[in-house]
């Protein structure tokens, strides 16, 4: 079975690690612990309702408002990306645009999806921006909460389906 590399990108403190640990380990901690470099999680899963087994290596990449040169090196060979934003922030989208642009430029044709995170405590104040991003990157957006687990697994499954659909 082929193992797919998925990278998780976004500003620091937006909840990338929490989303991954919710998906892979089904656990949550509200203690903020910065990720240094990359942390890799290997995870085998079955796509809900389709009985398709998948093997993923999820890359938890050190967050930054703008992708660094090292981030660009980390994403080499990725099959897909999750772009995470913290919806409690005044401007959650700038860092998401930057990360998504960088990923699309480096790996054109590879799917991505948007995690509109911390949905348990925030409402999306600019749904029109989400619509624009979805259209621009031809992707889906998920209102996720690592705390409650809302939409976390469906989001990773959606990305995996897009990867398989593109025959990557």
């Amino acid at each position: 079975m082929k193992t797919y590399k998925i990278v998780v990108l976004g500003d620091f403190g937006v909840g990338k690690t929490s989303l991954i640990r919710r998906y892979v380990l089904d656990e949550f901690s509200d203690e903020y612990r910065a990720t240094l470099g990359v942390h890799l999680y290997k995870h085998a899963d079955t796509l809900a309702g389709e009985d398709i087994e998948i093997s993923l290596v999820v890359w938890d990449i050190e967050g930054a408002p703008l992708p660094s040169g090292q981030t660009k090196r980390y994403i080499v060979g990725a099959s897909g990306a999750v772009i995470v934003g913290d919806m409690t922030r005044d401007d959650p989208f700038s860092a998401m645009w930057s990360a998504a642009d960088m990923f699309e430029e480096a790996l054109p044709g590879r799917p991505l999806c948007l995690a509109l995170n911390k949905s348990d405590v925030a409402v999306i104040e600019s749904p029109e921006t989400v619509t624009r991003m979805k259209r621009r990157y031809d992707c889906n957006a998920f209102e996720t909460s690592a705390l409650t687990g809302d939409c976390v697994t469906p989001m990773f499954h959606d990305l995996a389906r897009s990867i398989l659909a593109r025959g990557l």
């Binding site: 797919y4 590399k5 903020y32 240094l36 470099g37 942390h39 890799l40 290596v57 090292q70 922030r89």
Partner: protein, 372 residues
């Protein structure tokens, strides 16, 4: 240097060198700080190599990652370097123990990020405080304006009535002035009452005096009361309630206030229509109350404005009333643990539905004193 010596040197440096073939299978291992059996697929040991297969086939393949942690637990980090020797074409992978430097580096990153996040929170709090301050100023300006209009009517009317004049006023004129002043006085009283309610809800002093009350009876009574509102003269007011009592634990006076506000708003919305209709429905299931009209309706933005104190959803169109009704309804519904949903669109009428917590209608529900 012998193999033993090279292992000792590499161990002292915290290094592991692994020779890989083109399929990324381990062929040779130098150093012992990690155990990597020969013959294994290096990707299983170092999943960072997944996805990099094509890149590593290049004759000048080179990649480096300063801090890599692997595994679902918080394992020790390593620095990873993979390079193809340009002369021999052999692919080497190097792992270096970076435990000490990584913890220091991580702490630096953690401190930097925490400071930035705290700073962003402070900016957000400052902006919110400024916004609240502006809202308060606008609110006070609105209150002054709303107080001045009826006060002017009272002062003007009383001045005319009290001024000695050569020709006495027509009795009808006297009555008209007196009625205008009375109407303004009633409006002022209502405004003051609303302001007190609003202020109490803001400061957490609005108290619900709960009891078991019959929503059927309340809905009937308030709908009948609203038939006397002057604007309701040409409006068909319907009351759809079940033929039996619907009991709920609530503050009956406040539920009446909620209904009165919603129904009078609906009546005002259809007052100028030919064939205006307002329907008040009590659904015993949840329970829920709906006040629907066939008026001009509102857009989402207009509803948001109408829910603000003194919010006038239509620029230049002032509705009769204090402009506080819907804000107070919002707070009273919330205080009862309910929620209000507006189903409306321009030209499609408006239906406001209040849903209460089903627990409140349970037979064994106990009244409590809720304070906002």
């Amino acid at each position: 240097m012998t193999e033993l010596h090279s292992d000792l040197v590499l161990d002292a440096l915290g290094l592991l060198a692994v020779r890989l073939d083109d399929d990324l299978i381990v062929r040779e291992v130098c150093g012992t700080f990690l155990t990597v059996p020969t013959g294994t697929d290096m990707r299983e040991f170092m999943p960072a190599l997944y996805g990099l297969e094509d890149a590593l086939h290049a004759p000048d393949a080179y990649l480096t990652m300063p801090f890599v942690q692997i595994g679902n637990d918080r394992d020790e980090p390593v620095a990873l370097t993979v390079r193809r020797d340009p002369d021999s074409g052999v692919l080497w992978l190097f792992l270096r123990d970076v435990r000490e430097e990584s913890e220091m580096q991580r702490q630096l990153v953690q401190n930097h990020n925490s400071l930035s996040l705290a700073q962003a929170e402070l900016v957000k709090a400052r902006n919110a405080a400024q916004k609240a301050d502006q809202a308060k100023t606008a609110f006070l300006a609105n209150v002054s304006h709303e107080l001045r209009t009826p006060l002017h009517v009272i002062i003007g009317g009383s001045s005319i009535l009290s001024k000695p004049r050569d020709t006495p006023l027509d009795p009808q004129e006297v009555t008209d002035y007196a009625l205008d002043m009375h109407e303004s006085g009633v409006l002022l009283l209502q405004l003051v009452d609303d302001l007190i309610d609003l202020s109490r809800s803001e400061t957490g002093n609005l108290i619900l005096y709960e009891e078991r009350c019959d929503l059927t009876e309340i809905t009937r009574a308030i709908t009948a009361l609203c038939e006397d509102i002057p604007e309701a003269r040409h409006t068909t007011l319907q009351c759809e309630v079940p033929p039996h009592p619907v009991w709920m634990v609530a503050d009956a006076r406040r539920i009446k206030q909620i209904l009165l506000n919603l129904i009078s708003n609906a009546i005002k919305a259809v007052a100028n229509l030919n064939g205006g209709e307002v329907t008040v429905t009590l659904d015993p299931a949840l329970p829920s109350l709906t006040v629907a009209d066939n008026g001009p309706g509102m857009s989402e933005e207009e509803i948001a404005i109408a829910r603000q104190p003194f919010g006038q959803p239509r620029a230049g169109v002032r509705s009769k009333g204090t402009g506080l009704g819907l804000s107070i309804v919002d707070r009273l519904v919330t205080l009862h643990g309910g929620e209000i949903v507006f189903d409306t669109a321009p030209g499609k009428g408006l239906a406001a539905t209040i849903t209460f917590d089903p627990e409140r209608s349970r037979n064994d529900s106990k009244p409590s004193q809720n304070v906002s």
